[in-house]
């Protein structure tokens, strides 16, 4: 699909969504706020400073766990992608945890790590790290044999093959891992906060208790923006530095 056609469809989708939203809000009544109620609630949240405080706390928690996930997943995935013994050793566990619902581990994590910064870091880390390991591993493992051959013929052997051929060839996957990992990290932070009644979670629980649906929706919209803006920025990095291969991860 051409870019202009895609933009047309996107605009069409947005207009349709807006129309459905307005109609539903009108039909449901106060339980579902419309666009104007949402705008008013957003303005109030900014005035009170509650949203900025909560979101900055969330961002710090994301940064901590996500940073840790990057630090672990990149070397682990990069080694698993080329070392079949290490892959056999770790692969089963990584895949098992990848398909496990991390949310189901939260009660256990509270018992182990308490409810402080360590808990948030652990949850965000666990949400992001397995996806990232598997994507980075796939990046290394799927380097085409022809690319490896060209490297070998022209003198890239041993560590040189790794540094000059395999790692650069896996760059598109590395950036995709950053993107997917960030998305997962934001989800993890919000889930953790909902459990502990902190940050964004505290706001959402409070608004739910007092039926302030427009304020709750305003918070949700900002969480979505936090994820979308980060992913968009990483997509721009992807296009700039790894545009030769588009890695699609769902």
């Amino acid at each position: 699909m051409s870019l202009s056609a895609r933009r047309r469809h996107q605009s069409g989708g947005a207009i349709l969504l807006l129309a459905v939203w307005v109609a539903a809000a009108w039909r449901v009544g106060p339980a579902l706020p419309g666009p104007t109620a949402l705008a008013r609630a957003t303005a109030d949240l900014y005035r009170s400073g509650a949203l900025v405080d909560a979101l900055s706390g969330t961002l710090v928690r994301v940064a901590l766990g996500y940073g840790l996930a990057v630090a672990v997943s990149f070397p682990a995935g990069a080694l698993m992608g080329v070392d079949t013994r290490l892959d056999a050793f770790l692969g089963t566990y990584v895949t098992a945890l990848f398909v496990t619902s991390v949310a189901s581990l939260l009660p256990f994590l509270i018992l182990v790590a308490g409810t402080g910064a360590g808990f948030y870091a652990a949850v965000v880390f666990l949400f992001a790290v397995f996806h990232m390991v598997l994507i980075v591993r796939a990046g290394l493992a799927t380097v085409e044999s022809g690319t490896r051959d060209a490297g070998r013929v022209y003198g890239a052997r041993g560590w040189r093959a790794y540094v000059y051929v395999l790692l650069p060839a896996a760059l598109p996957h590395a950036v995709a891992a950053l993107r997917v990992g960030y998305n997962r990290a934001v989800k993890g932070a919000v889930v953790a906060e909902l459990w502990i009644y902190a940050g964004v979670g505290e706001l959402l629980h409070g608004y739910q208790r007092f039926s302030q649906t427009s304020s709750a929706l305003a918070v949700v919209v900002h969480v979505v923006l936090l994820a979308v803006v980060g992913v968009r920025l990483l997509r721009a990095v992807e296009r700039r530095y790894a545009g030769w291969r588009v890695v699609t991860v769902r």
Binding site: G146, T147, A150, V153, Y154, G155, Y164, G243, W244
Partner: protein, 256 residues
């Protein structure tokens, strides 16, 4: 002296269902010669090239370069691949100088060598572009420049023009003839295209499948430099007919 020698080489792949990719192949390529191996898909001609490149090892027999057994890849035996196998994260210049960089050659010398080889393949103006921005023909020119940049003893060319359109293929064939005339690099080239083989080669080795071996040697006496007109000569047509007959099994094979 022969730059490349294969003596009774066999190569078998696989475990339980073993595939004999090469079955007793012997050949010699003299210094400075342009030898083309022509054969159908699956006859093992690419495997033969990979053996000389050191990318795989023979199951039996011996593969020599300059009188020494081939042990692993070397820039002395540079390869040009059918699928180009350029590095998309490197510019044209960085692709061309990859082998030199691995050899520890300094930046200034690399740039100089890149300029020389890119001029040879007509891509001086494209040094800072990325492979993605190039046509198939241009990419293969980069592949050829990358091989020439390391000043190899032999050029191993694995159906290098096989994925190009007919016009680009013809242009690159002419350019390769001109480059070989200038550089006098030894070339072992594999193709399934009989016309291409006869146009380029000093000698054509005909391979067949089942068994996968060289069954005939056809010397190509046409003067160099050659152009397309050679394809219409009686000698060319006669040789083409002979090779076709060998492929069909209608002609007696003439072992080398």
């Amino acid at each position: 002296m022969s730059a490349l020698v294969a003596s009774d080489v066999a190569k078998t792949y696989g475990g339980t269902r073993r595939v004999r990719a090469l079955d007793g192949v012997s050949l010699a390529v003299d210094d400075g010669a342009f030898v083309v191996v022509v054969g159908p898909s699956g006859c093992g001609k690419s495997t033969l090239l990979r053996l000389f490149a050191g990318l795989t090892e023979p199951t039996a027999g011996e593969v020599l370069y300059d009188g020494e057994p081939v042990a692993g890849p070397s820039r002395e035996r540079a390869m040009v691949f059918q699928e180009f196998n350029l590095f998309p994260w490197r510019t044209v210049r960085e692709n061309v100088t990859f082998g030199l960089e691995m050899a520890g050659v300094g930046r200034a010398e690399r740039r100089e060598r890149a300029a020389e080889t890119l001029a040879l393949v007509g891509l001086e103006a494209d040094a800072d572009r990325y492979p993605d921005a190039l046509s198939g023909g241009m990419r293969q020119r980069v592949g050829l420049a990358r091989a020439l940049a390391v000043d190899p003893g032999v050029l191993l060319m694995d159906e290098p023009f096989g994925s190009l359109d007919a016009r680009t293929r013809a242009t690159l064939q002419r350019e390769l003839i001109a480059i070989h005339a200038r550089e006098r690099t030894t070339v072992l080239f594999v193709t399934h295209d009989i016309d291409e083989a006869l146009l380029l080669a000093d000698r054509v080795l005909v391979m067949t499948d089942d068994p996968n071996r060289i069954v005939a040697r056809v010397d190509v006496p046409f003067d160099r430099p050659r152009d397309d007109d050679v394809e219409t000569t009686a000698a060319f047509v006669d040789r083409k007919r002979r090779i076709r007959a060998i492929f069909r099994g209608d002609a007696p094979a003439v072992p080398e």
